[in-house]
Symmetry: C3
């Protein structure tokens, strides 16, 4: 059995972190698969998907501060000469984290920890409407 | 065909890196799938999965030193104000690496390189008993 | 249905970034799957897979500059004492990014963004011939 779910998320950009666990769980419930694998994939090259504890300190400060430190907004990015834009750091951050997360489905649910949620990180320099594709293969 | 394997790993925390390749291979052998995809997933938001060469320099020093540099233990993490704990850096490190690794199964085995092993990294500030879920979809 | 594709890529090493989207799309076309999941996996522990915009600034400068900053070539790596080699930074970079990328297949294609391509990053200190395995599970 394969099943595709899609949803859109409006972001503010600038390392805006959004908990999308409920949206992904809705796709799992719609699918009805008991066991399988799902991939959560964000379309575009300035956003990424991972997990964290959905808690205000991490969501609004710590993850952004980490990426501000390792890929500063005011650094030199040759990308910006190509397009005369300002989001070289957004691309580097998104590539280093990756656009997809793969999670098991066991007994109809994802085996996430109690304090482990699925997050979208939008690293672009402006708000975007992000397209998320959730693909399930299972039975 | 879908197949679920689970195992637990006792860690010391503090960027303890453990080679779990044999545990994952055991799940592949138990499953009997010839071809497919597997995902190795660690439950919780302060640990991560990736591959490396299983060699003492990397396992006991270099990976820890890298994460000590990019997400220092003594930095400021707003997370720690929320819970009055000390593992903000653990969360940031785990999120930046991710809780899962996806690997092909071809002819009944993972096509890992000779010097490429699957590792669990526990970034928490204390020892933990980690639950690993291996989910296989294939035939 | 499962399907395995393999191809090789000659690299120059030293954070050489190569757009492999066409190679992966060829495997998807050969497979004929309408819907499913694919994993792109690089064999070896000094290379990695992710997505970016395939544009010269990012491919030839920005991603390399990022990894030069967070895992410098001239840092101390205990790995190099074990083998008397020079690629400790290559291992650390590759582990932090990961050897695989998972992507949905929807209606016979990957839902990549217009400016989102699949890339191989070879972090080793010399040119290599890299083996890429693309495994598809779907229908």
């Amino acid at each position: 059995m394969t099943h595709t779910g899609r949803f859109q998320i409006a972001t503010r950009g600038n390392a805006h972190v959004i908990d999308i666990t409920d949206d992904v769980q809705r796709v799992v419930a719609d699918c009805g698969a008991r066991d399988g694998i799902l991939v959560v994939f964000v379309v575009g090259s300035t956003a990424a998907i991972t997990t964290t504890e959905s808690e205000p300190g991490l969501l609004t400060h710590d993850l952004k501060a980490f990426y501000d430190r390792i890929a500063p907004e005011d650094g030199y990015y040759k990308h910006e000469e190509t397009w005369h834009d300002d989001n070289g750091h957004s691309h580097v951050r998104a590539s280093s984290l990756g656009p997809s997360l793969t999670v098991p489905i066991v007994d109809g649910a994802m085996p996430l920890g109690t304090w482990q949620q699925i997050i979208l990180l939008d690293f672009d320099t402006r708000g975007r409407r992000r397209e998320i594709v959730v693909q399930i293969v299972g039975e």
